[in-house]
């Protein structure tokens, strides 16, 4: 991956007036990677994407595309295409003309353009609608044309700015798979921006979690979810319980801690030194209830219950501390724990994690 960096962002900073949108952000994206920038609104992910496209320039730092410095290169000279959040299809052109637009500007000859446009429309299953105008399409269809238009010129990098946010749930799910397949088939580097952690976990090779204009963590979906480096990442990606704990001892990625329930246990930790307070993060689905309880076990009272069909969310009171747990309804009789009941609660220490407080 080191030799094949499609994109390098080096200590890029940007502020709008007094607002610091990006604060010395650095990372590299390998070619053929599905890379996601995940973060809440205002975290700087869209600004970063617009910089890669060339619509914004950093106040300081440099951006390399395929090893070439591009900060001063205008958008129309970058081999980068964008799928816009609003799709931005040209309303006065047919779908065919929309897809051909980039190719014409690149100076392809007519026959080659015709072939490529046909191929792209085929690929997104829109061949029959080639002569229609964007206004005659549904949201999902517009999405497909926007993809075809951006992929047609065979860019080095495809940028996707929250492209699924305007679609309804079912369609969004289908488009995720389609996007992933497209990325694998074309081998083009995808840089995907989203605030939806589920989308990010589902599709990405690697995720960069951004918050407050800084990169909080970069890693594979599993790393981001299971080994968050700080409270922000653990909180933003997925649901979790935070417990304040005392760190007694640390050694080689493990920390021995005392939980509020008085139990002393050793759990994985990121960069913690002994002494002082820390935060223990444990995901709801890692907390087992009732007959499933195992590992460190104690008792808790069910104070709230949300039945979701496939699983049930429970809120527990364990010695005055509130914990959330979720339990898969593996059988039809799965949801048998009643509100107010006191049940055995447990978790395996290895599934919890100590974070910087």
């Amino acid at each position: 991956m080191n030799q094949n960096k499609a994109i390098e962002v080096k200590s890029v900073s940007k502020s709008f007036g007094t607002y610091q949108a990006l604060n010395s952000v650095s990372f590299a994206i390998g070619s053929n990677e599905f890379f996601t920038m995940l973060g809440p609104s205002g975290c700087g992910k869209t600004t970063l994407l617009r910089m890669l496209a060339g619509f914004e320039s950093p106040d300081s730092g440099s951006i390399l595309l395929g090893g070439r410095e591009v900060v001063d290169i205008p958008p129309h000279k970058r081999r980068v295409n964008t799928v816009f959040q609003s799709y931005a299809l040209f309303p006065h052109m047919t779908l065919e003309q929309n897809v051909a637009y980039g190719l014409e500007n690149l100076g392809w000859n007519a026959a080659r353009i015709r072939g490529r446009v046909g191929e792209m429309l085929e690929r997104v299953h829109m061949s029959q609608m080639a002569k229609r105008k964007p206004a005659q399409l549904s949201g999902g269809q517009r999405q497909r044309i926007a993809l075809a238009r951006a992929l047609a010129p065979e860019p080095e990098v495809l940028l996707l700015d929250e492209p699924l946010s305007a679609l309804d749930l079912k369609l969004r799910q289908a488009m995720r798979d389609e996007l992933r397949t497209l990325q694998r088939d074309t081998g083009i580097t995808f840089v995907f921006v989203t605030h939806d952690q589920e989308e990010a976990l589902d599709m990405s090779d690697r995720i960069a979690v951004l918050g407050g204009g800084e990169v909080q963590q970069i890693g594979t979906p599993t790393q981001i979810y299971e080994e968050p480096v700080n409270r922000f990442v653990a909180d933003f990606v997925g649901e979790t319980n935070f417990l304040n704990v005392d760190v007694l001892e640390t050694a080689s990625g493990q920390a021995t801690i005392r939980t509020p329930f008085g139990v002393v246990l050793t759990v994985p930790a990121t960069g913690r030194t002994a002494g002082g307070r820390a935060t223990l993060s444990i995901r709801p689905e890692k907390i087992n209830l009732g007959d499933q309880a195992q590992g460190i076990a104690f008792e808790g009272r069910i104070t709230n219950k949300n039945y979701m069909g496939g699983y049930t969310h429970y809120t527990l009171d364990v010695m005055g501390t509130e914990l959330r747990a979720s339990r898969r309804n593996a059988s039809r009789e799965g949801d048998t724990i009643t509100l107010g009941a006191t049940v055995p609660v447990g978790f395996v220490p290895g599934s919890a994690r100590v974070l910087a407080a």
Partner: protein
């Protein structure tokens, strides 16, 4: 079965209500029909009637049907009553169209960058600039034309300025088509800027970004994205400038010196000094017919574009 039964019960209930609303829309719109009839259709009908009347011996006209007014546009009646083709008025019509067309084009060339510039400003400044564009309308048109006479005329601002840089003394830019054109462009410019601004304002900025993203440089983006999408505004502006330019009276009379006439000034002359009302009315009706043809043409084009979209 159930469906038709439902319809059967619903039908008699709905009909009177529709009739009520229908009646209301007729009586409710009556004032505007009256206004349109009195202020728009009646005057045109009178002019149409006058155009086919007979010229009176001492000015005025008599209500005798006569096509002499129209005939006079193309032919001159000789002493013996034979008709002789005279291109004199046809040339005026042609000049009028050329000048009005030039005015429209020049207005367009200036208005697009101005409107684009205003569009790119922050909201507060944008409102102020739009107000500034409309500012000349608050001053009487005749005063504005006189101001141009002061600028362009002998001893005027522009000749003095040029003299300072070594131009010969006593220059004047007045009393020619250029002066007429200058005043017309100045007068009708806001009518072009405003609709072009409105359509540029509506243009989605992401489309421009998308064009750049797809390897379109500024020129390609302007030609293939911005212009086609602002065409409705440009067409509206062109109509708003072209149509009154055709009927311009003040500018050719004051700036052009009255020697080189346009249709507007010709009509005015016939109703005034020329004392040939039927002829004046005939020119007015011809002008209107030509404008109608132009509007119907652009209207059809826009409609076709609309259905294609």
């Amino acid at each position: 079965m159930t469906d038709s039964a439902l319809h059967a019960t619903a039908e008699p209930e709905r009909t009177p209500r529709i009739r009520f609303w229908h009646g209301l829309s007729f009586w409710g719109l009556l004032p505007s029909w009256v206004l349109m009839g009195l202020a728009l259709i009646l005057p045109i009908a009178i002019i149409a009637a006058v155009s086919v009347a007979t010229r009176g011996a001492h000015g005025g006209f008599t209500w005798d049907f006569n096509l002499a007014g129209y005939r006079h546009i193309l032919f001159n009646e000789g002493w013996t009553g034979e008709l002789e083709f005279t291109p004199q008025y046809l040339l005026i019509i042609l000049r009028t169209f050329v000048l009005a067309g030039a005015t429209t084009l020049i207005c367009l060339l200036f208005a697009v960058p101005v409107a684009y510039f205003i569009c790119r400003q922050p909201p507060g400044r944008k409102a102020a600039l739009v107000y500034l564009v409309t500012l000349p309308f608050w001053v009487s048109m005749i005063l504005r034309v006189y101001a141009w006479m002061i600028i362009l005329g002998k001893e005027g601002t522009l000749p003095r300025f040029l003299e300072y840089f070594g131009a010969p003394a006593g220059l004047s830019f007045m009393f020619n088509d250029g002066a007429t054109l200058t005043a017309m462009v100045y007068t009708y410019m806001p009518l072009m800027v405003l609709p072009v601004f409105a359509s540029l304002e509506k243009l989605d900025g992401t489309l421009i970004e998308a064009s750049h993203d797809l390897y379109g440089d500024r020129w390609v983006t302007l030609r293939r994205v911005i212009l086609p999408l602002t065409a409705p505004g440009i067409i509206a502006g062109a109509i708003l400038v072209f149509v009154p330019s055709l009927g311009a009276v003040l500018e050719p009379t004051l700036m052009g010196g009255g020697k080189q006439m346009m249709m507007g000034s010709l009509v005015q002359l016939q109703f005034g000094g020329g004392r040939n009302w039927p002829f004046g009315a005939a020119i007015a009706m011809t002008l209107m017919a030509l404008v109608m043809i132009f509007l119907i043409f652009t209207g059809l084009r826009t409609a076709r574009r609309g259905t294609a979209l």
